[in-house]
Symmetry: C2
Subunit: 353 residues, 2 copies
């Protein structure tokens, strides 16, 4: 079974065509093509059209839609110094995904050349940008951890790539090696130091490429395998418990990071580790690596700095929460999170993305 | 089965004790403890004692040894502006690993307090640093891709953490958000912008933490599953073929990155993806995520920029190469690489780390 669509944010509706990023003429032609689609971002927030603003995170909720702009509608923005442009890719002629969102607007039958997509970040005022849309209910959502979870699978995939790369431009516009200004290259996928004598131009290093932060997130099973360990941070909504998680540190493999983070956050020691699935999490640019692991000790000793409380929950308690009964012992994270999918995976309930 | 020791560089002989990094007094006390061990680095190269300089990458080769220094031997270096100090961790009282290298020098029976380890990077001349060792055959190896593969498992794990973090200090001493100088914090695990008005001090971002670059590396199986796809870069030693690999991009899950990189580098389309194991690769700071995947097309069309040649090899050809016969069709990468371990995994030959 292909695991492409297991997790929210991981759809890849476009062919990124990374080899074309260095072909400036080709990129410029694609930019000006009247069929090219621009997604507009303000402070890392995409312009969306809300469909059902009151139905919060409901499974049957109609997806919010990303607003699409043409070259003519944004070409003035492209010239402004506070704008960042990122080439996202070309629509796939053969779509790998099962999600048909993008097909609504494609016109491949009449025009064989696939459309190009770009993300455009602007630092103009929201109002100024919102005026450009003829549609109603448009906005730049404020609460990203909630509002960016209401998109279709394909559009979530587009936002994942766009938001991570734009966040990188926003925080990495200086060369970390010499402190000089850096210049955007490769259609928004590289930044090079403008100082030609800077050692960042020598040897192999990562300073000029967008950053991706790998994180381990794990469902820890009790040695009896009938319970699992979940924790809550102070910032969680009331009653919510989720999987433990943490950044992979330099020099660690996935399995070592799982063992270390579980021990740090809960005091529990774990043995074997199994990879389950992964998810890009563009807040700003994490790669969540989802694992299952079995504990070898059961006493909980939480790291109070990070975790307010951690507890063992029975499989039945988890099933009750996933099924959303009002009697549920705790609240599970939303279905768009990999933590939710790990819980489903363990209980054997099929994915409900 | 615990996969802790499957890959070279992934051993974790120390407890990193990350919560203690902010406790400056504790760190300073550990620094001055006469039992504390310092590893000395020059240009990201650790001081080692070569054991058998002529027996290149032989499986029965005696491991090279990391040179260990005491506080007294390095305390003058700690004061110099070109030095970087990184707290690596404390020896584990209960050792998780099977590798006993570090036990040779521990003295836990007589002294119950575990020893601390630090990595110390210095920009002094090599000769000046080498003088500090009383042992013979000490050096700072030049060819990292070859010379850092000759350590014991535990010492390779120490080098993985040290080298990645020191490489980060070497290339990230300026704030990427404002271009100002940054200051080392948390015992070498964080850098904060010295400019108090910099927006890097606001909100959640990654600019102050060491970078880890996730990479997918995959063994692509032929649809008939009796062959696998390997490629060679121009820089490889003659005859060597290895797994395809590439950096995970922002907004991708592991599986999507595998599909994209295989298609980019070889023109082959792949279907399902299975995670096998992972490996930190401190050149300078990658996390190799090793996968198996099955192709759905077989025609090869290499990306000439990156790959000189890619070919399908039979299982028998791979087994012959792994067993090192002189008749072998091609040369496999060394056993310390995850590519080698993926090939062993597929052929069913047990790991020979
Ligand atoms: N790349 C990163 N981005 C953000 N925080 C990080 C990063 N690496 C380490 N951290 C630290 O890790 C903490 C979160 O802990 P954890 O997610 O459990 O590793 C944050 O509060 C930061 O102090
Ligand atoms: N973090 C990174 N470090 C080094 N090179 C990178 C990084 N991200 C992207 N690249 C580019 O990826 C190329 C290697 O291709 P691949 O490993 O197949 O993705 C390098 O030559 C760089 O141009
Ligand atoms: Mg955490
Ligand atoms: Mg943590
Ligand atoms: Mg952590
Ligand atoms: Mg590659
Ligand atoms: Mg590549
Ligand atoms: Mg690549
Ligand atoms: Zn520079
Ligand atoms: Zn700054």
């Amino acid at each position: 079974e292909q695991s492409h669509h297991q997790t929210y944010f991981s759809a890849e509706p476009l062919d990124r065509l990374s080899a074309k990023r260095t072909d400036q003429d080709w990129i410029r032609t694609r930019q000006k093509d009247p069929r090219t689609v621009y997604l507009l971002f303000h402070k890392l927030s995409p312009m969306i059209q809300a469909q059902n603003p009151n139905q919060d995170q409901d499974q049957n909720h109609t997806a919010d839609r990303l607003m699409q702009f043409t070259y003519e509608e944004v070409k003035d923005l492209l010239e402004l110094p506070g704008s960042e442009l990122v080439f996202l890719g070309l629509e796939r002629t053969h779509n790998w995904t099962s999600d048909r969102t993008l097909d609504r607007t494609t016109d491949q039958a009449s025009n064989p050349e696939p459309r190009s997509w770009f993300a455009l970040g602007s630092d103009l005022e929201q109002e100024e940008l919102l005026k450009r849309s003829k549609d109603k209910n448009c906005s730049f959502p404020k609460n990203h951890h909630r509002d960016l979870l209401r998109l279709s699978q394909d559009e979530a995939g587009l936002v994942a790539q766009s938001r991570s790369v734009l966040a990188w431009h926003a925080r990495y516009s200086f060369c970390s090696t010499c402190g000089g200004r850096s210049r955007v290259e490769e259609a928004g996928h590289k930044r090079s130091c403008e100082n030609t004598t800077c050692i960042s131009h020598q040897g192999v290093h990562n300073t000029c490429y967008p950053r991706v932060d790998p994180v381990v997130i794990m469902l820890v099973l009790h040695p009896d395998q009938s319970q699992c360990l979940l924790g809550r941070k102070k910032v969680f909504p009331p009653g919510m418990f989720s999987c433990l998680a943490g950044f992979i540190e330099p020099g660690e493999c996935v399995e070592a990071a799982v063992r270390r983070e579980v021990q740090e956050e809960s005091g529990v020691l774990v043995g074997p580790v199994w990879y389950v699935c992964s998810q890009p999490w563009p807040m700003p640019s994490s790669l969540m690596i989802g694992c299952l692991t079995v504990a070898v000790t059961t006493e909980i000793n939480v790291d109070q700095d990070e975790i307010e409380e951690a507890k063992w929950f029975t499989r039945q308690q988890v099933v009750d929460s996933l099924l959303g009964g009002s009697q549920a012992e705790f609240v599970v994270p939303p279905r768009q999170t990999i933590a939710h999918q790990l819980l489903r995976h363990w209980t054997g309930l099929s994915s409900n993305l």
